[in-house]
């Protein structure tokens, strides 16, 4: 069969559902500390001794329950970053920098936006971030118990 393209049926559709995501107790406490005390706390694995940020109830690598809660520093090092240059429907507008940052004292990295970088020239911004990989945590004035209650700010080199 070789039906003309304009004769082929194309039905419009959409897939929009509403959800309520359940964070569990460990993530809920992590967010409460962010919101109420402006503190970033992780839990340490009693087996591999890693302090994991953001906090998890169990260590995925060792498959054991995490131990004590411990605070980490409010400065850290960028492990990986990208500069968002292109808009996608329903997602925040570029230009933006996102990065995985290992906060001082932590053994894993946490993802967030990095502000305070001149993004007019992307290549220059990328080179800057390779040379200046230290950031500090900045807490939002109005915190709602979400991962977006803080972001990173580049510490000028």
């Amino acid at each position: 069969m070789n039906m003309p393209a304009e004769d082929l049926l194309r039905l419009p559709g959409s897939w929009n559902f509403d959800y309520t995501y359940f964070a569990g107790e460990t993530a809920s406490r992590f967010f409460a500390e962010l919101r109420d005390n402006k503190r970033i706390l992780g839990r340490r694995c009693p087996s591999c001794q890693r302090l994991v940020i953001p906090a998890r109830s169990y260590c995925d690598a060792c498959y054991v329950e995490m131990g004590d809660w411990e605070p980490v520093g409010e400065t850290g090092t960028i492990e990986a970053f990208t500069i968002l240059t292109r808009a996608f429907p329903g997602l925040p507008e570029p230009p933006l920098v996102i990065a995985f940052v290992t906060l001082d004292g932590a053994d894993s990295a946490v993802l967030n936006f990095v502000e305070g970088v001149d993004l007019d020239d992307q290549d220059a911004a990328g080179a800057y971030l390779f040379d200046n990989d230290r950031v500090r945590v900045v807490f939002s004035e109005k915190r709602e118990g979400r991962i977006t209650d803080f972001h990173f700010e580049s510490i000028l080199g």
């Binding site: 194309r10 970053f81 500069i83 292109r86 997602l91 990295a109 993802l111 290549d123």
Partner: protein
């Protein structure tokens, strides 16, 4: 291995294009299945089980699209989903099913219908953790771009490396009649394409692609000795922690060292008796939808030391390795998400059988196909040869 060898006796693939408004999901599948059965010289009655592969349903916008398109009445059926590794995971499942004596012959089918989605990257954002990560515009593109920054920082890669790998893949695809619309690109054209997420350009990524791929696998005892067969000499698979942040710095390897791919390769090579993959494997079909992922895969596949990641890419680009990468154009040329890892195995099987047409390479005693899915969380490695194991 004392186990009865298992081989691929039939390969079927649709052409791969952005969308197929002239074909329903089931019609796409039937093209691939009919071709695989004809290649195997078998009817559908010879099939003891069907294993389907579909990754995120939301790409098609039809929940459990395999129910309407892949399952065959009267036969055991199940579906596997390991993201981009789905296609190779169904081959692993078939090996286990046949190896356990549950069937002589299994049909594996993977389908991708993502041409129906108007916003694939917004859908990919939903595969990430809604509690800790999803707010930060994680998509498959930014996930690759984050790794690219690590490769630049730790190994000194430049955009010329990514562009060189991409150029070779797109140029190889011109010889693949299934890669509809393929055109050769120079490294300069790759770098002139729009920036998707710094430092990844449009043509360092993969296109939206629809299509279906099907393979027929049988145990040695039921394969006629004259039938052209791609024997599976080794198959390894491994998984890793979901959170990318927890994989950043570990004793066993960082996020860019592709620990599960390395483990899968070690297992597959051990089964296949491969001790020096750079010399013993002629063709690699890599599930690398981004050229940066291909650069990460080389050391994980034992082709160079991690410290030599960048000089090895220089050697690859200079054609100095004696290895053929992605004769089909690989996942950068066509990347139907659910099927892409199965296509890698199909292409490696055709190379081993000497049936790859214009993209056939010479002297292919062994071919290796990889599968990669879920933000490099799942990996598989499959070793294929026309020589029956044990001969």
């Amino acid at each position: 291995m004392s186990r009865e060898p298992i081989g691929i006796v039939g390969v079927g693939q649709t052409p791969y294009r952005r969308s197929n408004p002239g074909l329903s999901a089931g019609e796409l599948v039937k093209i691939a299945v009919d071709e695989a059965l004809a290649d195997a010289g078998l009817g559908i009655d010879a099939i003891g089980a069907v294993i389907g592969g579909v990754a995120p349903d939301a790409l098609a916008g039809i929940k459990d699209i395999d129910r309407m398109s892949i399952s065959v009445p009267g036969r055991p059926y199940f579906r596997v989903n390991t993201g981009g590794a789905t296609g190779s995971s169904i081959v692993q499942a078939a090996l286990a099913w046949i190896g356990a004596g549950r069937a002589d012959t299994v049909l594996v089918v993977a389908l991708e219908r993502m041409g129906q989605a108007s916003t694939a990257q917004s859908i990919f954002n939903t595969i990430f953790d809604p509690i800790y990560e999803k707010d930060f515009v994680l998509t498959t593109i930014t996930m690759a771009a984050l790794r690219a920054s690590m490769l630049v920082k730790r190994h000194g890669f430049t955009e010329q490396h990514w562009a060189g790998i991409a150029s070779r893949n797109f140029t190889n695809a011109v010889d693949n009649p299934l890669a509809i619309g393929a055109r050769a690109l120079t490294p300069e054209q790759v770098l002139a394409s729009p920036m998707l997420a710094w430092p990844i350009h449009r043509y360092e990524a993969c296109p939206t692609t629809e299509g279906a791929c099907a393979l027929v696998l049988s145990r040695a005892g039921v394969i006629g000795c004259a039938h052209s067969t791609a024997w599976i000499h080794g198959m390894g698979g491994s998984s890793d922690t979901y959170s990318m942040g927890e994989r950043m710095n570990r004793p066993e390897g960082s996020l860019i060292e592709m620990v599960p791919l390395r483990r899968a390769a070690e297992a597959a090579y051990r089964q296949a008796g491969i001790t020096d993959p750079g010399r013993q494997v002629r063709v690699f079909e890599l599930q690398a939808p981004f050229s940066i992922i291909e650069a990460m895969a080389y050391p994980a596949l034992g082709l160079c030391e991690v410290e030599r990641s960048r000089p090895f890419v220089d050697e690859v680009l200079a054609g100095a390795t004696g290895i053929e990468f992605n004769p089909s154009g690989g996942a950068q040329a066509v990347n139907p998400v659910s099927a892409t890892a199965l296509i890698r195995i199909a292409e490696a099987a055709q190379q081993a059988r000497g049936l790859a047409g214009a993209r056939q390479r010479d002297g292919v005693r062994r071919a290796v196909a990889t599968g990669q899915g879920g933000a490099t969380q799942f990996s598989t490695v499959c070793v294929l040869s026309a020589d029956q194991p044990g001969d």
